[in-house]
Amino acid sequence: MAAYTESLIDRLSEELEISRESFVPEALLKDDLGFDSLDMVDVVVLVEEIVGVRLKQSDFIGVRTLGQMLDLIESKRQE
């Protein structure tokens, strides 16, 4: 797991008021974590702030779980 992951999940949990325990790799963003379009504002802003990566909508095609989202962030970071 990348070094920034814990920090990112802590901040998402705090900002979105979702229990920290819910953030497991297989959690579905929409159905399990309850992410809606406005929550994505937090995701985009926090990922840029913590990881230094700017996400675009096209990056999220096929991304359904937290694990997939973290893989996406890591692949963007390594670009």
């Binding site: 994505m40 504002v41 802003v45 909508q57 999220f60």
Partner: protein, 294 residues
Amino acid sequence: MSAEGWDAKSRGNALGYRVFGFFLHCFGLNFAYANLTYVVLYFVLAAPKQRAAVWDYYRRTWHYGRLKSIWLVYLHFYRFGQCLVDKMAMLHGLTDKFTFVKEDGYDEFLQSLDAGGVLMIGAHIGAWEMGSPFFGDYAGRLHIVMFDVEYQKIKEAMHRGEVQVPYHIIPVNDGELDSIFRISEVLQEKHYVCMQGDRYVNDARREHITFMGREADFPQGPFIVGAKMRVPVYFYFSMREGKQYRFYFYKAQSNERVGSKAHQSDLLRQYAMVLEEMLHRYPQQWFNLYQFWQ
């Protein structure tokens, strides 16, 4: 679901816009205003939900008597019609028919625009569209957030060459990610986003506050974006004073932690306060013609 009694659609169709544009060009604004006197009467009679909402506005928000409220309901629809005529005139390029006045706060607003990345939160009062020619060179970096049904109408009219829209449009549909990402992207590109802060489409994303002494729900979306995106937030209103439009710019200030829920609520609180001030100055330019209050 959206705010009760409001379906994100406006009256009017493509043929209506075309005919109206033709009359504006041929006979001018005063002719259009004169015709409103009976067109409005028709709408007052034929639009019972909107009429009831305006009646409620004068009777329960302003506590006016029955006779005064009857007259004000008609006048209210007439003012609404005048603003629609003005907006159509502007879209048809008749901007020289109006004068524009800038209120205090404009210089600071321009400085923020020059620095880039500004969120403007407006309301369904007056006619915000009247500001687009006034923005001049800045209009090219202005992105208006509007509901997709409205955008489709404007897009059709643009394709037919009937209207000129100097700004960009970000269409939104409830729950879709496209618009949120687009808003985020254009703000990061140091552009400006203008959205309305007084109507919600998502029941789960609304905040209950006291507004004009009554309980009402406001959307959370614009204030979440304002709190999270770390850009200056301005409340922007364009109010009609005859054939003159006065533009107001209020910069939101908050001592709450940036991005926090308290920050969002603080932005909404400030917005509601400024909006109340506008309604006290221009009570007949409140154009949420549905049951806004609980």
